[in-house]
Symmetry: C2
Subunit: 592 residues, 2 copies
């Protein structure tokens, strides 16, 4: 049955003379997780997955989503009149192909340019113009139809003190203007909330697990602007902005202001929303947003704080490991209750703000699903067997953490040990890497992935990602991936001070999943005739579960690293444990 | 003292009102090795190295070359009035900076556009125009001054039969036109001699070690043209061209013809000479020349032939190894006489044409110099100690080979064994690689280079390169390098049928050099849920010198590969040996 909201939307489309309307899963800032206010695709389609694009025509509609969500989308779209388009499957048309084949020359395609990046809009534009269709890029039909829409996020902001962030606003503006000079830009438009938050040292819990306020910024060689809902803006931040000569304007004011700026205007076409980009008459400098790189290279204050955040996080995780290993099989624990326990242990740590993403607790075969989501009530109960994978992290004032441990419940089988150890070797091979300055993640990825490839297997994700500092837990532009995807800004040179996760895994459908994830910072090693050597310094200090290790499958070097690491965990986190926990930790950290 | 030729050149510059003239080391086809006819930079500067750019001003002159040649250039330029510019050293100006700082606005810079690629010319153009200098891109001052210039190469061509090349001219034109369609090009200009030779199945020994004739080509959707000195063109090739409707024109005719062609015109800006590219008024499609990829993916006939060429080459190399190991210390052998012996053994093989490059025989510390050139008379004498590196290859009708072996003379020291084994492990790690389709060389390079990086060392070159089929021994676009250099067209996906060398090494200044080089072809492995796996099939069959191996430094996997490889060498090449050689080979191929 066609829903009321779809009927209402089609009425609006008719009024605007639009025969196709595109609703992506996005806010105005290209944020990875969207707030409820922006969940328009879910509102109209009924599909609740985290990724998907809805296209509504006059008589039919379709939703594109990826392999993670095929089954869920099939269920949720049943009887909705919306066809499921399985992305990446043979014969499935692209959005452009679908629209072009259903419309006739001279008809109109619309979207809200704020929710679609400039690059995507250009792609649509060229396809539709080629087919003789017109594009209406600034249609906000959603607001007109969605009557009970959730509020726009407006949590109170707070100033992210220099004792954590390490740089004043003025210092950051100086860094930014140097980059603008290099690009010969007079104005720089910043639309991503993590970039604005970094630039002005502001934070706010607008979206669950994402401590960043909805905002825009513009910087010229002489002025700087922050666009934010003023009623939510805190006094300290206001004062700090004033000191740094930052003009604070209303959130929506940017759409007018940008038109008055001097060109050339620097913007990042992969993230800048197309309403802003397409409204410009000035010369555009289309480059990766310079803040992405500045932000990724953590300064010494950020690094010191991050190290402490990881120690606290390590205490919480180690306590969790103790609790889990001691109690499984003796009390009722399921995936969700375990993850709640973990959150409560993190929350006991000083300066904890929130989890850095929704914990992924996945038992046995559930862990083979890389995007498994445990639901209260229906989730798996833990017993004294099998592997239990827990991917989690915390936001602390000192920084953001991300860690995965795979726990052996009861006694591990030979097969479990085999795969557990294989993933461990992958982790260690990358952790120990020594490489010349100039390397990208794609040069190193095979160190981790190679042992899986050697047996014609793979993990279908990156080996690692950059990590924000009280910011997005997934951060560009650094990462460990073997393929380069230019529009993802994810293949930069590994620079000193960058944070990287290292999280290879083994996933065997219907059976088990293993992942071993630590975070590392890129540091300088020796400099000699050959160049500047670089390596990784570990930030995460939680023992790997030795019950999963078959040392006979490891090289001497790997065993040495493993033993060193376990001992360091004891040295670094035992101070935060009680006597019982400490004694247990000492035992499990002893050499293999 | 300023040479007569420099004085004459400056006179010509005056006549043409040119205040700076650029003479690179290049022919009209961007060939790696230039024929004597094109050695203008050497003629004017007196510098004999293989790479360098001479810039002549009214009152001074300078020569740019790289680290390989600093000492040699200093000697050869002494008293010439030409300053040496050491490329890559701090404070050394670029060619553009040097010219801009020495000329004044309105003055003129000239070069012969046939000797400078379109990309380089554009780079010069933008720098000089920015500085208010004018560019004269079609000045052939060299011909006017160089009176006793060697002849233009004009060896008789021969048709490279389909039994070796595997495709008729018409089949190749079909392949090319499909690529032109994809790029929406109506005309395709081909200026590299290896691409023309591939397209029309012609060869000629114009340059030592490079069996390719000086020629150009153009292809349209309906016609095809070959531009070549007609008097040198053989009858079979003429007939084959006629059958395939290829119009054979005079060598220089292309410069007029290209102006009459329909656009868009496809050309490769990294190699197409700027005189052609800049004369075009048609729309240009600037892409990597499609033949580069078509040529790199060897067809089944080329592969079968190549395998046989390697077997023959393996017989010659194995005989050389026997001769060397038996006679060193007993008779007088030096680097040059050893390499002559090797050439004579190759020449005994059926269908041998010539060496595929000048053999590099490097004893002891000479092998640490990656571009060491042994000279008759002054080269090192071999004695019963140390390592002797020999990098060599052959052109046979069946294909081109490239192999390096490092031989232990006498008994290896612990240190020699250590580095010999380290380089061996690097070779094996890459040789055994299993990887998903889509990988580039930069994904795999660390498999070889990693063990060196682990001890803060490096070899300052790629780990491997593509190889031509009776063509250039170094062939784009595939290779094993960790850095991407886009203008080198050298970072493609590894496709089934590509030939790659695998040649990691260890070079310790003043002491020793080790390199272990085999050639491999990329082949398909298993295809499953994760994708298409790929690996390497070995082509080269010459035993590595087991006297250099310390098996205790190798993993069980690596030893297994080594033992398998040595046994296969025996199986494949012993048929070509006499009884004595055969018995010896059996012994040295036994398992570690």
């Amino acid at each position: 049955m066609i829903s009321q909201q779809m009927i209402a939307l089609r009425n609006e489309m008719k009024k605007e003379d639009v025969q196709a309307f595109i609703i992506p899963t996005s806010d105005f800032h290209d944020t990875e997780t969207v707030a409820d206010y922006f969940a328009a695709r879910k509102y109209f389609s009924g599909f609740t997955g985290s990724a998907g694009v809805l296209v509504v025509l006059e008589e039919k509609a379709a939703l594109w989503t990826d392999g993670r969500y095929f089954i869920q989308a099939e269920n949720e779209l049943k009887d909705s009149g919306i066809d499921l388009m399985k992305q990446g499957q043979e014969g499935v048309p692209s959005i452009e192909e679908y629209i072009v084949s259903n419309l006739t020359k001279g008809q109109n395609v619309g979207f809200d340019g704020r929710t679609i990046s400039y690059n995507d809009a250009l792609k649509y534009q060229s396809a539709f113009e080629y087919a003789g269709l017109n594009l209406k890029v600034n249609l906000d039909l959603v607001s007109q139809v969605w009557t009970n829409r959730p509020e726009m996020p407006h949590a109170k902001t707070f100033y992210y003190d220099e004792k954590y962030s390490g740089r004043t606003i003025s210092q950051k503006l100086d860094m930014v203007r140097k980059e603008m000079e290099k690009e010969h830009a007079h104005t720089y438009v910043i639309t991503k909330i993590d970039e604005v938050a970094w630039l002005y040292n502001i934070r706010a819990c607008d979206i669950e697990n994402v401590p960043l306020p909805m905002s825009y910024a513009m910087v010229t060689m002489d002025n700087a602007y922050l666009y934010i809902n003023q009623s939510r803006f805190d006094e300290v931040s206001r004062q700090k902005c004033e000191e740094a000569n930052v003009t604070v304007c209303d959130y929506n004011q940017i759409y007018e202001d940008v038109l008055k700026m001097n060109g050339p205007v620097l913007l990042d076409p992969t993230s800048c929303n197309s309403r802003i980009a397409m409204s410009l008459t000035q010369t555009k400098v289309l480059k990766m947003s310079p803040i992405i790189l500045l932000k990724a290279i953590k300064n010494e204050v950020e690094l010191e704080n991050t190290k402490w955040a990881h120690i606290k996080d390590g205490v919480a995780m180690t306590k969790f490991m103790y609790w889990l290993k001691k109690n499984v099989g003796k009390m009722e624990i399921d995936e969700v209750s375990a993850s709640k326990k973990l959150t409560s242990l993190r929350a006991e740590q000083e300066n904890y703000i929130e989890d850095s993403f929704a914990t992924i607790p996945a038992y046995k075969e559930n862990a083979a699903m890389m995007h498994y989501h445990a639901k209260e009530g229906s989730c798996a109960k833990l017993t004294n067997e099998g592997l239990f994978l827990v991917d989690s992290g915390g936001h602390y004032y000192e920084g953001t953490t991300d860690i995965t441990r795979t726990f052996v419940l009861g006694e591990a089988t030979e097969e479990e040990k085999y795969w557990f150890t294989k993933a461990m070797r992958s982790h260690i091979r990358l952790a120990k890497a020594n490489f010349l300055y100039g390397c990208h993640g794609y040069n190193l990825d095979i160190l981790s992935r190679g042992p899986l490839w050697d047996c014609d297997m793979d993990y279908q994700c990156g080996t690692g990602h950059g990590v924000g500092h009280l910011s997005n837990v997934h951060e560009s532009p650094n990462g460990f991936r073997w393929r380069i995807v230019p529009e993802r800004n994810d293949a930069c040179v590994l620079e000193e001070g960058m944070l990287q996760s290292n999280e290879p895994g083994v996933y065997i459908e219907g059976k088990l999943g293993v992942r071993h994830e630590n975070e590392y910072v890129v540091v300088k090693g020796n400099k000699n005739f050959y160049g500047q050597f670089m390596h990784f310094e570990c930030l995460t200090w939680v023992p790997f579960d030795r019950d999963g290790i078959d040392a006979s499958l490891m090289t001497a070097d790997e065993i040495e690293w493993f033993n060193w690491y376990q001992q360091e965990c004891y040295n670094k986190v035992s101070f935060g444990l009680n006597e019982e926990e400490k004694a247990w930790l000492k035992e499990i950290c002893k050499p293999l």
